[in-house]
Symmetry: C2
Subunit: 370 residues, 2 copies
């Protein structure tokens, strides 16, 4: 292969290989059998490596606080919440917050979010579990610390903070505490958050596909137009461009966002030996070069397990419902990340250099075609 | 200025500015009034920022363990060590481990290291304090954990490990524990170490000039030949090229090393307003552009203070002797750095990209001259 300092592209390849080497095995997640001490957790955070923590939720009332019977059943949730209204994301294909092609252009489409009486929402959600293609896919996923307002009737069933994380990160409470209720029809697209995320699964299983913060080329970020699904009275979803209010008499401006466009299903359907090949052997003309070099991992987080999802890791999330309760329910804690130190500025440098490397690769490709 | 993603050079400039912003004020060191808890220290280590820690040595017997009278005086040191032989670095100009021009080529020259009876060494060292240009400059600086063998007679006067650092870094003892004895004639050249360094000053003052790990362009690394001072019988120092033993009948090879070549005196002699100008204003053709963008800091560490010098920070060290005892004595603890996580691989990527940026700047310069 090329000299590691001969071009941004060669240096980027070298970065991804050395990162994978230093964090070996980079495609396998580590498990902690018990919750860490604050000091142990800060070590994990310093390494910015994901981890599945077991037995971290045994004292949650939602989980039955250790007596084995979960408090959070569908019956209990309905009883506590009754007909209180909650915001529910509605989409035609389960595609909340993802890039969609529409009339020849690409859009980042946000779901149609509408209020539903909680009990009706749960009944409607469960009724679609066995439907192959429901016309509307429901997902309670408002990421605005919903447990502290919409779902106050359930808030006392989970701790307001994770003690070892609060101590380690020097933040008495997290920035947000979100409840997620859905089924297998919803799949979030690849994205990243500027938060240290602790994601506890109460019912069902979450399937996370993860790429480290330096896999910017693998994420294939694109600048696209912002849009929102609008649901017509006949139940049809219409992709509607977002408008920025005009200033000083100008025409309405179009609003754009940069968002990962990669779907990793193709990569995970490759035979094992191709996904696990030595990184040094990956050819420069392999169309999945950057994905392979970024060594994505796919992990299942089962009920009772908590995922530590480090800040700036790309993640794509699917889910399976609980066998008895027919829903998937999870709670996540977002702690602010530390912007000081070397991490944020170097991650951003890697991002800028990646855009440069990809641009120069494209130019070379078009020259060799010409 | 140019678009941040238009060239490696522009992206590097942007990295240095965003690093300085995220770690504001980037040119001023922070002080801790008391030693940190292990958790607090791990937070400091995670940020990879230098810090001066006060009152961290009050329980050291060397420091008098709190009763105010230092145990380590010249008289006590002589008494404990007697005529035991210690390795002493001898140089003509105080330039241990630095780049020297010699017969038209540049060399990284290691000092002539010879055994001295300890008492004689101290007497000889102190005798040169008032000499403007001594013919031989002495410095006890063997960095091989000398306190655990050469200086065992003094080892019980300092702790074998720093408890809060050992707990934070999960290392019962440091990798090395070094004693340094010298005067103002010795100045180490800019360099970096792959260690988390805790540097406690017992007598005198150490003056550290520091550049963060991303200031690779400021450090001006050069690949030069390895050499060693050999002291002739007449006391003259001769720069002698190191030879690698030849293999399989080949000629003896020349041995090289990559080492920072920058002396920062010129930068620190600039008027304050030029050193403190807004980073965005620094012109692309300013010959000190990369030094200024890397925001070097100069800090004095006085007796009783401990410097936390984070892994991979460039440092250049000068010293002043104690007013009463006429020597400068310090002890440092080297803890291994963590190679996992994002830091080492991204620091190395910044280094590779810096070499690329500097090369392309040089090419542009030579084109515009042609």
């Amino acid at each position: 292969m090329t000299d590691q300092s001969s071009s941004p592209s060669a240096a980027l390849r070298q970065l991804l290989i050395s990162y994978a080497d230093a964090n070996y095995p980079s495609t396998r997640i580590e498990y902690l059998p018990h919750p860490p001490s604050p000091l142990e957790f800060l070590r994990i955070v310093s390494r910015n490596r994901p981890m599945i923590i077991r037995n971290a939720m045994t004292d949650w009332p939602a989980m039955g606080a250790g007596d084995g019977d979960k408090k959070w059943t569908v019956e209990y949730l309905k009883q506590q919440m009754g007909n209180a209204e909650v915001a529910v994301a509605e989409t035609p294909l389960g595609n909340a917050d993802s890039i969609i092609e529409h009339e020849g252009a690409e859009y980042f489409v946000k779901p149609c979010t509408r209020p539903h009486p909680f009990s009706n929402f749960l009944t409607d959600l469960i009724s679609t579990n066995t439907t192959p293609n429901p016309s509307t896919i429901l997902y309670a996923q408002s990421q605005d610390s919903n447990l502290t307002h919409e779902y106050t009737a359930l808030a006392l069933d989970v701790p307001p903070a994770i003690p070892w994380a609060s101590i380690a990160l020097d933040q008495p409470v997290p920035d947000a505490l979100n409840l997620w209720i859905g089924n297998h029809h919803s799949v979030s697209s690849l994205h990243k958050d500027p938060y240290q995320n602790l994601y506890g699964v109460v019912l069902g299983t979450k399937i996370f596909t993860l790429i480290n913060p330096f896999g910017v080329a693998a994420a294939q970020e694109k600048k696209v137009l912002n849009a929102t699904y609008v649901k017509r009275d006949d139940g049809e979803f219409v992709v509607t461009k977002d408008q920025i209010t005009s200033w000083g008499g100008q025409d309405a401006l179009e609003s754009t966002i940069t968002w990962p466009a990669r779907d990793l299903e193709h990569y995970f359907s490759l035979p094992d030996d191709e996904r696990n090949m030595a990184l040094e052997q990956i050819a420069d003309d392999d169309p999945l070069k950057w994905v392979k070099l970024s060594t994505p991992m796919r992990v299942e987080v089962h009920a009772g397990e908590m995922l530590y999802l480090p800040a700036l890791w790309y993640h794509q999330v699917a889910q399976r419902v609980d066998e008895t309760e027919d829903v998937c329910v999870a709670v996540n804690y977002w702690y602010d990340m530390d912007f000081a130190g070397p991490f944020v500025s170097t991650a951003s440098f890697v991002r800028n250099m990646t855009l440069l490397a990809l641009k120069s690769e494209q130019e070379q490709d078009s020259q060799s075609l010409a």
